[in-house]
């Protein structure tokens, strides 16, 4: 009874049943009414005719006609009595016992004799008073009609029961079908909840609402899996790559204390510890930022002019480049390069890329940036002519804490490029790495903001 499907079926059944009953009832009422009207009209017409006869030929003439008509085999019934109630003519046994209504109509039963068989049949007649105290009854046998009505009524009752019965069965059946599908989904969910995250909710490809629900659930589960992996990665990273500096920090403190240190030694140890703690914190924060971005945190989607952002970043790093005798240049923009995104994050990503390029490009090298329109996209490119990255490693460089062997001595926390990737992911942008012949070329391909959006 708790099934929604069943209740819906029941409700529909109710509406359908009531309207069917209403319609059928109306049909019945009209047809029964019609036949009744017909009978009454026939009787009234006959009465008219007999009245004419009476006027022309008086009572004897009337009696004659009634006798004639009574002898005919028909549905019509007649009875003519004088003022004392003596039978003059007619084809029924006696005057009906029931009373006439206001319009002189009587419904009654009469005895019909066919050979040995006698039966009670239903009749309807009209009672007429004739001057002289004579009374005439003109009517018709309506047994057929009564039988028909009863037949229709019983048919309706049977139909009604049939509708209800079939409806209930149908409802139960549909309900159970739906229940089975929902049970399957619930069972799958329970399986997933108990820890088996790879499991998915079954769907049968019919495309109906339940199916779509199943597909949405599965998409959600896919998403959750991605998020959980991100979390797992972060905790793995924290475990692996933060433990080292923390142990170093701890070791320094411990060893310094053990050596019964001078004030100067203490000061030095504390200063180094502070430095190390700051570095750790910045790594930790960067990890959190990256995880948050990879987890799909959505930020502002305002129009951002890539050229402006590039100019700002270059402004910041220009002296660093100059000191290292590296040429840092911005190539002229091509087309419209406004995208929708988070200005702060895009700045940070570009800064990280520039920082990286400057770090690894030797003196008298060159680092260049460019933003250009390409159809519906805006491509941001940064290239250098440093040592570049071997083809095999190019995918790896965006992973967390990856340092190619030759670079382990450089400063930084190894997360700069990971953040770039996370920012690209968050913006739905493509990240490409190519050989610079020589050097490295990194491109971020974003969707341009349409002209309307820029307004």
């Amino acid at each position: 009874m708790r099934s929604t499907a069943f209740r819906l079926a029941l409700f529909y059944l109710l509406i359908f049943g009531v309207s069917s009953a209403g319609l059928l009832g109306f049909v019945f009422w009209r047809s029964a009414g019609f036949t009744a009207e017909q009978i009454d009209q026939t009787i009234s017409a006959e009465v008219q005719g007999l009245h004419e006869r009476y006027r022309l030929l008086g009572v004897p003439g009337l009696t004659q006609v009634v006798k004639e008509r009574s002898n005919r085999q028909s549905q019509s019934l007649y009875y003519l009595v004088d003022r004392r109630g003596r039978r003059l003519a007619g084809n029924i046994d006696s005057w009906p016992t029931s009373n006439a209504d206001q319009q002189d109509w009587i419904d009654f039963d009469y005895n019909h004799q066919v050979g040995d068989v006698a039966e009670q049949r239903r009749a309807r007649a009209r009672e007429i008073e004739i001057s002289g105290g004579y009374r005439l009854l003109v009517g018709r046998d309506v047994q057929q009609r009564v039988a028909l009505v009863e037949l229709i009524q019983s048919a309706f009752w049977w139909a009604g029961f049939g509708i209800v019965g079939l409806g209930l069965l149908g409802g139960l059946f549909i309900g159970r079908q739906m229940l089975r599908r929902i049970d399957a989904m619930a069972a799958a969910s329970a399986e997933i909840m108990s820890g088996n995250l790879n499991h998915r909710v079954p769907h049968d490809g019919t495309g109906d609402e339940l199916d779509r629900l199943a597909q949405s659930l599965n998409s959600m589960l896919d998403r959750i899996e991605v998020l959980m992996n991100a979390v797992r990665q972060v905790s793995d990273n924290i475990a692996h790559d933060l433990r080292t500096p923390i142990s170093r920090l701890r070791a320094r403190a411990e060893v310094t204390l053990m050596g019964d240190p001078s004030l100067e030694a203490c000061r030095e140890a504390l200063e180094k510890t502070l430095e190390e703690a700051d570095a750790l914190l910045s790594t930790f924060n960067a990890l959190l930022d990256i995880a948050r971005l990879e987890g799909g945190a959505s930020g502002p989607r305002d129009p951002v002019n890539l050229n402006e952002v590039i100019a700002d970043v270059v402004d910041l790093y220009e002296p660093v480049a100059e000191d290292a005798q590296i040429t840092l240049e911005v190539l002229p923009a091509v087309g419209s390069t406004t995208v929708k995104g988070d200005r702060r994050l895009l700045s940070q990503a570009i800064a990280n890329l520039v920082d990286n390029a400057l770090k690894y490009t030797g003196s008298r090298g060159r680092v260049w940036l460019k933003a250009e329109q390409s159809g519906k996209q805006a491509i941001l490119t940064i290239g250098d002519n440093g040592p570049g990255v071997p083809a095999l490693e190019r995918d790896r460089i965006f992973d967390r804490f990856v340092r190619l062997d030759s670079d382990r001595s450089k400063p930084g926390n190894g997360l700069g490029l990971s953040l770039v990737r996370a920012v690209a992911v968050m913006h739905g942008a493509e990240l490409k790495v190519d050989d610079g012949h020589p050097g490295l070329v990194v491109s971020i391909i974003l969707e341009r903001a349409s002209e309307v959006e820029v307004q």
Binding site: S282, D312, P319, V320, D323, S347, Q348, L358, P411, G412
Partner: protein, 223 residues
């Protein structure tokens, strides 16, 4: 300077108070917002307000203070460091926002910057020793000699000058001169500052642009 610290972490608070006292300030400490609101009545130069407090939270407290007509500068402290959190804090009436954990020197520099902001009229000219900075014409001269600065260099100098005699941290410079809220791994700021220094100090007797070890920079006549 009289500083009110509203912070429920007792240890963190005691370090702050200790540090502030060692730098010659008077610091009072309360554990919750309600006491803070009461204490604020005695008049402070700046209030340090933790966002997460038992009972009434920091944002609410700031709104109350502003609602009651207090114009004391408020520095928010928070473990919540998202840009949105910053904006929320500043909208609630805060004047600055520091994410925990922070370097004490950072706190100190920002508090001093906030406290002095009161009653500062917009100036057309700033003088530091014999260095003249005209904010309208954007001309910089030292000892009568014209110094050519690029726009960014001028902005940097202006900020240092507006906070003359006080420590300005690298983060403050990043946030205000370049409007960046992230931490660049390399010492970009240092390079910009040494560039500026070479322009305004080289060839002059008295160095004005000093590096304060472990904290930042200071533009000042005194050392």
């Amino acid at each position: 300077m009289r500083i009110l610290v509203i912070e429920d972490d007792k240890e963190a608070a005691s370090y702050m108070v200790k540090g502030l006292s060692e730098h010659g300030h008077v610091a009072d400490h309360v554990h919750d917002a309600e006491s803070g609101l009461v204490m604020a009545e005695s008049g402070y130069d700046v209030i340090v307000l933790d966002r997460m407090l038992p009972g009434m939270d920091g944002l609410q407290a700031a709104q109350n203070l502003r609602g009651n007509g207090f114009t004391t500068p408020i520095l928010f402290l928070s473990a919540l460091g998202e840009v949105d959190d910053r904006v929320t804090g500043l909208k609630a009436g805060g004047d600055d926002y520091l994410v925990k954990p922070f370097a004490f020197s950072e706190l100190l520099a920002r508090l001093e910057a906030l406290a002095r902001r009161r009653g500062e009229e917009p100036q057309t000219e700033i003088l530091v020793g014999d260095l003249e900075i005209n904010l309208l014409s954007r001309r910089v001269t030292r000892g009568g000699q014209r110094i050519e600065l690029q726009p960014r260099e001028f902005k940097l100098l202006e900020f240092l000058a507006r906070h003359s005699d006080r420590v300005v941290t690298r983060t403050m410079l990043l946030e205000n001169v370049w409007e960046y809220n992230f931490d660049p791994q390399t010492n970009v700021i240092d390079v910009h500052v040494s560039r500026l220094r070479s322009k305004i100090d080289k060839g002059f007797q008295l160095p004005l642009l000093h590096t304060v070890r472990g904290a930042g920079y200071r533009l000042s006549e005194k050392g």
